[in-house]
Symmetry: C2
Subunit: 433 residues, 2 copies
């Protein structure tokens, strides 16, 4: 490791899209990477279950392990790249084995870090090895480096953004084409922008994994996935997107980690973002991360959050840091300096709300609804109802002034119980990154 | 330097906005900076001409040097922060003296780096000391770190952006308020967004200094300011901004460094940017940097490009890197690995053009103009002429298809010589970051 003339020998555990992409980046850009790393970075070993599949690169000369843990302890491997994925099983075993063998690890595994990052960081610190995870958040965007090193002079007030390209793609197509969620999801699956099992993406879990990592870095505390409030985009309808447009908003799945005087709030949910906000313009599969520091103000980074090239670019950036000996504590500060701010529950959230009801069009409905809001202490900013259809189901949209989540939830359950309200109300928080 | 428990002692040469801002960041965020740097970073010495001025921080306990070179060689200083400014004189002397004394240097001085960066980088490499300059480009945006480390796995195809907040502010206000350049400049000076002598900003020199630095980093070659083509915004009129809006463009002062098969093109000039482009939305004093890599694709970074807080944030980020021992060669690779791609002259540029003429409104004018364009081999994409005013001066706007700068300049000089063309034509290149 410390001899600057020796090649850095990399073992890649997992040869899916990102693993194969990493081999390709290291080979295609070998000359420039070697100059920037100060020495060659070469893949010496790989592991994957199926040896026969064509992965788009030549495997001659590579040591092949069926067992990723065996790769991690192979003497021909200086650094282990873990791109198996999954929070448990072989991915976790491989990372732990590599650290215990004193080998630096680079991983793109956000689930692993969000759920076991605190333990793995302690282990890596105990063994004195770096654990790189630039690729785990926002793909090719150097968000981890920017937050942990570039903005290190600042107390971070908030970090937030569009952290899942699948959701952003679906919401963008729904808006541009006026189509409904299920249909656009099916297309996204056909085009390879969404997984066959899309739950991790569309239920907000993937974005929440990334936000948990960003929050730990921003606020210098152990990653704590359980503290997050998480909602996905399954219930967003073409109707709500049309109303958002009329009101001057765009609906984005945002992850928001914010520090207040009382503690830290971390949440992932669909958000009505004023369309003049920069982040409202980030469309398609692009990701964006916005960090606010007490001296730098707001900095936004934007780029591709997934895909072989962008993700492998981030993996190799970590390898170059390791080759150069550029070391940074995993959460920005050593373990002893980590803090723990109180986690604010979602019920403490304050903000404005968009509420869309399907009601029977008859006199007195609005009086009932507004009475409930008044009784809960929620004040209205505006109301939309288009056309008339006596006796039929029609949408009513209400936009509140800033209120508390507690008051809003109380009002929501009373409204849902009104006779004239025909479907469960749709509620979307108004906000920005 | 290498004892991790000893404070890193900083000497600050120059106590203007950035120097005073750096003291304030180091003091106000001392606890968090110390945790992230692994040891305290303390200001021990300062230099400035006038000791009596109130700079907004307590100077008790600081060693005061009248001569910045003396500060650079003070044994109580481990690292020198040069924020005097200017490409010659005390700034250059201070940086050279510090390097020769074996001390790391952090500077916000883009002029110094653009004009003497090649020499200073060689000197720093010879003495084995880091030379940090995150603050020299795009203020608080960690553009240098992102390009040099975050995207290090990529061959960089282009780097470009909005690099001068003063120009972007003036162009934004001109567009929003329909006012002319001179008037908006005077306001910007009154508000402190433009210097009393605004030439460096509005003539594009400041943006060009920053682009020269980004280009050197992106393409791994010694900084070469003389290779840049530079135009400013003095000749942009409210009329051109109105036509831009009609054509679906926004006028931005862009710096663009691009690699082609033939070499590298680096240029700063007002650009008609399609308004759907992300960078067209970057308004006011904000800066943005867009880098394109062969694997990562396009990454954009946005934030405040000037001001005490953002610039000091970047200075202190460099100090934290130095305190942690995170070292990177100045241009991303060691001196022996620097290359030198041919610099493409502006005459080799290819692109589309916006051309606005003031002509006498009489029959045959368009025939004359289009004949000249045809003879130069330039083909037209569209033409605008509003209203009629027989015998009077009226504007005509022409938008060309892609052509060469050489052909366009030939056509331009012939058009300027036509009897019916009453003023020097306005030419603005069409493009994007």
């Amino acid at each position: 490791m410390s001899d600057p003339h020796k090649p850095l020998r990399v073992g890649i555990a997992g040869l899916g899209t990102v693993g194969a992409g990493t081999v390709n980046v290291l080979r295609q850009n070998a000359a420039i990477i070697s100059a920037r790393a100060g020495r060659p970075i070469t893949v010496t070993a790989v592991s994957a279950r199926d040896r026969t599949r064509d992965r788009g690169f030549a495997t001659e000369g590579l040591i092949w392990h069926d067992d990723a843990v065996a790769l991690a302890t192979d003497d021909n491997v200086d650094v282990v790249v873990e791109v198996i994925g999954g929070a448990q099983g072989p991915a976790a075993d491989t990372v732990r084995a590599a650290i215990r063998a004193g080998k630096p690890v680079v991983t793109a595994n956000k689930a692993l870090l969000a759920l076991h990052g605190a333990e793995l960081a302690s282990l890596a610190e105990e063994y004195g090895v770096p654990l790189g995870f630039e690729a785990a958040v926002a793909g090719g965007i150097p968000a981890i480096k920017a937050l942990r090193e570039g903005l290190a002079a600042n107390e971070i007030i908030s970090v937030s953004g569009i952290l899942n390209g699948t959701c952003n793609y679906i919401l963008t197509v729904m808006r541009e084409q006026g189509r409904d969620f299920a249909e656009v999801l099916a297309d996204a699956q056909a085009f390879g922008y969404a997984e066959a099992d899309p739950a991790f993406d569309i239920d907000g879990v993937d974005a929440a994994h990334k936000l948990a990592i960003l929050g730990a870095l921003a606020f210098g505390q152990p990653v704590d996935f359980a503290a997050l409030h998480v909602e996905g985009i399954r219930r967003i309808t073409a109707l709500d997107i049309a109303f958002a447009r009329e009101l001057g908003f765009r609906i984005k799945l945002l992850g928001i980690a914010k520090r207040t005087a009382d503690g830290v709030s971390m949440r992932v949910h669909p958000t009505m973002v004023p369309e003049a906000e920069e982040i409202a313009q980030v469309d398609g599969v692009f990701n964006a991360v916005v960090a606010e520091g007490n001296f730098v103000g707001r900095v936004m980074l934007m780029g591709r959050g997934a895909g072989a090239g962008p993700t492998a670019s981030a993996v190799v950036a970590d390898l170059i840091d390791i080759a150069r000996g550029r070391l940074t504590p995993i959460w920005g500060v050593e373990g002893y300096a980590l803090g723990k701010l109180p986690a604010l529950p979602m019920s403490a959230h304050q903000g404005a709300y968009y509420l869309r009801l399907m009601v029977r069009d008859r006199s007195g409905v609005m009086a009932d609804v507004t009475a409930v809001l008044r009784d809960a202490g929620v004040s209205l900013q505006s109301m939309l109802q288009h056309g008339r259809a006596p006796g039929e189901s029609v949408p009513i949209v209400l936009v509140t002034h800033e209120t508390t989540e507690g008051a809003m939830m109380q009002a929501l359950s009373a409204i849902a119980n009104l006779d004239s309200v025909l479907e469960p109300p749709a509620l979307i928080r108004i906000g920005a990154a």
